[in-house]
């Protein structure tokens, strides 16, 4: 399979469509930005079923009124859920970043335990220190996680840009996530150990949870933005790294998009 198509849902206050489109295109996919309302009313040229990859992007859908991702999730819940469940059943891959992660959690797509993708079992609550904040953090990834999007990734620096990112689930769910290695990414302190301490953990997430996947590893949500580290010069210290000769050819965030595209092409299972 060549050039897997990617459906990037846009509109209604979302705003990371340009960088997400660039990321998937650089990763060898064929991204389509589609307004959610066009998909819902059938005027979009393609249907969800035509896509192996679905991207829930960052932004402020409906201004985050009534809770981040809530209204956008409800639009999908009432008008697209059957298509979405069919997409998952067929082995579709989904990536949710920031507001997109919030939407996936509100929908119940994540953590998607026991094949139930309709029951919300977690939430992304207000940061312990209130307010939106844009600052880079370091993430550590679980090598034992089934997540297809993060294969081969050990640590990664990415910007955290949100006001509601504290991942909360009741104890039983949280335990299962830990046991089944569904906590894909955690915030690391300067010592490389997962931390609940600000600013390294920007929101106070217990166990430093930054991203989770479903048990199949095909659905993945992450608070920090891999779509904001596509080029070497996205890194906050790039001017020095360039002179030091340690600059990589592309930004680390691209690894996540490449993994997703390779998985869609059948190279990863």
């Amino acid at each position: 399979m060549s050039e897997p198509r990617v459906l990037i849902l846009t509109g209604l206050g979302l705003n990371c469509e340009a960088e997400t489109e660039a990321a998937f295109a650089m990763a060898g996919a064929k991204p389509d930005k589609v307004h959610l309302l066009d998909l819902l009313d059938g005027t979009a040229p393609h249907k969800l079923a035509d896509y192996p990859i679905l991207a829930f992007i960052g932004g402020f859908a409906f201004g985050d009124h009534l809770g981040a991702g809530s209204v956008f999730a409800n639009k999908i819940r009432w008008r697209l859920y059957d298509d979405l469940l069919a997409f998952i059943a067929k082995g579709g891959l989904a990536l949710g970043v920031c507001n997109g992660f919030q939407t996936m959690v509100r929908l119940g797509l994540l953590p998607g335990l026991d094949g139930d993708f309709k029951t919300p079992r977690a939430t992304l609550a207000q940061n312990d220190r209130p307010g939106y904040r844009d600052a880079w953090v370091t993430l550590g990834f679980d090598p034992a996680s089934p997540c297809l999007w993060t294969r081969g990734i050990d640590t990664m620096e990415l910007p955290s840009r949100h006001g509601e990112g504290k991942f909360l689930a009741d104890a039983a769910i949280a335990d299962r996530l830990e046991r089944e290695h569904l906590v894909v990414a955690r915030y690391l302190g300067p010592d490389g150990i997962p931390t609940e301490e600000w600013p390294f953990n920007p929101n106070g997430s217990p166990s430093a949870v930054a991203g989770v996947c479903d048990p199949s590893g095909r659905l993945f949500g992450l608070m920090p933005h891999p779509d904001a580290y596509l080029y070497p010069f996205h890194h906050p210290q790039w001017t020095k790294r360039k002179l030091s000769g340690v600059q990589t050819a592309e930004g680390d965030g691209m690894k996540i998009f490449r993994n997703g595209v390779w998985a869609a092409m059948g190279y990863v299972d």
């Binding site: 846009t10 509109g11 209604l12 206050g13 979302l14 705003n15 990371c16 340009a18 960088e19 489109e21 660039a22 307004h35 309302l37 066009d38 009313d41 005027t43 960052g58 932004g59 402020f60 409906f62 201004g63 985050d64 009124h65 307010g131 939106y132 904040r133 844009d134 600052a135 880079w136 910007p159 840009r161 933005h225 779509d227 904001a228 596509l230 010069f233 996205h234 906050p236 210290q237 001017t239 020095k240 360039k242 002179l243 030091s244």
Partner: protein, 745 residues
Amino acid sequence: DAEIIHSLFSTYIRGTTLEVDRAVKQRGDSSWLVSVFHDNAGVVAFDDRDHLVYKVETHNSPSALDPYGGAMTGIVGVNRDPFGTGRGAELLANVWGYCFASPFHEQARPAGLLHPRRIRDGVHQGVIDGGNQSGVPYGRGFEIFDPRFLGKPLVFCGTVGRLPVTIAGRPGEDKTVSPGDRIVMVGGRIGADGIHGATFSSAALDETAPIQAVQIGDPITQKRMFDFLIEARDRGLYASITDNGAGGLSSSVGEMAKASGGARLDLAKAPLKYAGLAPWEIFLSEAQERMTLAVPEGDVAEFLALAKRREVDAAVLGTFTDSGFLEVVFGPETVAMLDMEFLHEGDPDLDLPAVWEPRTFPEPAGPAPVDLDATLLAMLSRLNLCSNETKARHYDHEVKGLTVVKPWVGASADVPAEATVFLIRHGAKRGYVLSEGVNPFYSDIDTYAMAQSVLDEAVRKQLCAGARLDRIAALDNFCWPDPVQSPGTPDGAYKMAQLVRACRGLYDLTRAYQTPLVSGKDSMKNDSTMGGVKISVPPTLLVSAIGQIDDVADALTLDVKFEGDVVYLLGLTKDETGGSEYFRLRGELDKFHAAPGEPSPYVGNRVPTVDAAETLPIYRALETAVRTKLVRSATTPGKGGLALAFARSAMAGELGMDVDLDAAPDLVALPPDVAMFSESNGRFVVTVAARDAAALEAIFRGLPCRRIGAVTAATSLRVTLGGLLRINLEIATMKSAYKETLAHV
């Protein structure tokens, strides 16, 4: 022997730009000024696909009354300016800058004025929410503090956009309105909010100011409207667009009707938030999130259908005509019938006197401080020099993925960049560069020097990031106290003279630098008479520069990079401590306080000036050094002078610097405190690899370029002058002084 100036704007502001454009064409180059002064924002050429659009506005009075709502409208309002330029520019980046009284203000304040901390918190949060929810990153942000902003804060908000060179087969900057085109209003609905907005903003703030004059923005409604309009734009569904800002429909339709020669507008067709608005209220309301478009008759159906699908309100309110009249009806009733000629040209010219009398101020009386370590730490912690990162991090600065040099740079990303660098789209190499200059403190001595200093500062910062000298455009935003002589303003003629001198300063230096002024805005009534006390802002000119860099991968930051790199000082330092932050520190140390409405002592008299014959050769040489990739870091001394420049570079790089200023005779000739803290223009501190030192010196042969030291692996900044170690401070100590002041507010 009075001199008569017919229009400051035509003479000095547009004057400079026309001259620069003429000079470019005379050299045989093609003009890079695409559209200046006649549209909602300035447009300059960028590359073969897109032009750059930039506009900066102020929203001062609304922010004084309702800081959150007023400031949010400031940002989402200025977003509509690039969007209403040409046939619509997509938004790329925002800038903000605020002038406040101290958030720690403890003295009494006139009744009716909000505490400056409450104003500061509200203004920040409004622009944070407005920008973040619109999905537009911020590129620049500054704060200036002075007691005279207690009466009215200044809230500058600006937006950069990209306008396609060609839209639907026509130049993107072209807008036409033909008789028969429909008047279509898109976006939010009309309510009683923002009635009198424009008129109250242009009046002194007093107890009668109506709170409903403040417009309240809703960024999400606007974001959805913009997304829809970009689709409509690219399908060629409209011929012209402008925003509904000050004056609402009266202004937008009145302005667009000029092109066709008239309009017939039916206010009864306007979508309202609620019933009960009088026709004049519908006509004048400044309710937000609205654009007015000219839609050719044949495109109306498709335009409205697309709006419906995107869940955006759009309504046909009438037709553009060539009747020569702006006819406004409300159903069957005619409510206004205005001659177009009278509407646009009918206002009589004002005759305003200006009398310039230079003022003199006391110089510091007591002995200069001897302990320059303590002085530098005190400087770093001052409101006008310290870090405002706590607030600034709440603004997104990298959504869209086009930010290359972020607002905060260095090893811990905790020192503000001299200028920020952005791509215009994914996959491109070429970038644009944002910087600004603002320094109302110099105005107390001479606004001519003030205007030249702020332009010079903006240009220097551009060069520090690697911008080309020949593609810097500037915007001018004048925020003045009322300069019209009257019983309430007995010194109006002096303030008008300050305005004249500022315009002349800007004119002279923009011509010398060949920096066109492509857009701007004036705000001329920044006075408050709340509680019977008149407080006027100091004359404030913000120069916002937008430059270009051929390859963003060559951009520079100010942090020193490696041990062993050589430090150079470019340019000359003079005893120019007038209006300096150092003199205000001296005043505080001597326990002087400003009388209400007066500048804070010490003001001094030797204000920094600019001699382009001296500075330009240095700038050209620096541009060459940057282009040949010799320069590893670049910073420019501004407020706080040389000592602050060293401190910022060392703090950003988290490396030591060992500097010996005895290599610079101009510095040796000055008292040590003056050498460290004088704010002379035209200077840079750059570092290069040791192997490149000779090459750099060759480029600067014959110019003031002194090798003053090296970057070290130590953790301290050490500065020697006159054979004595004057400054020896740990970087960690400087950082805590720099960060603590505003860390928790």
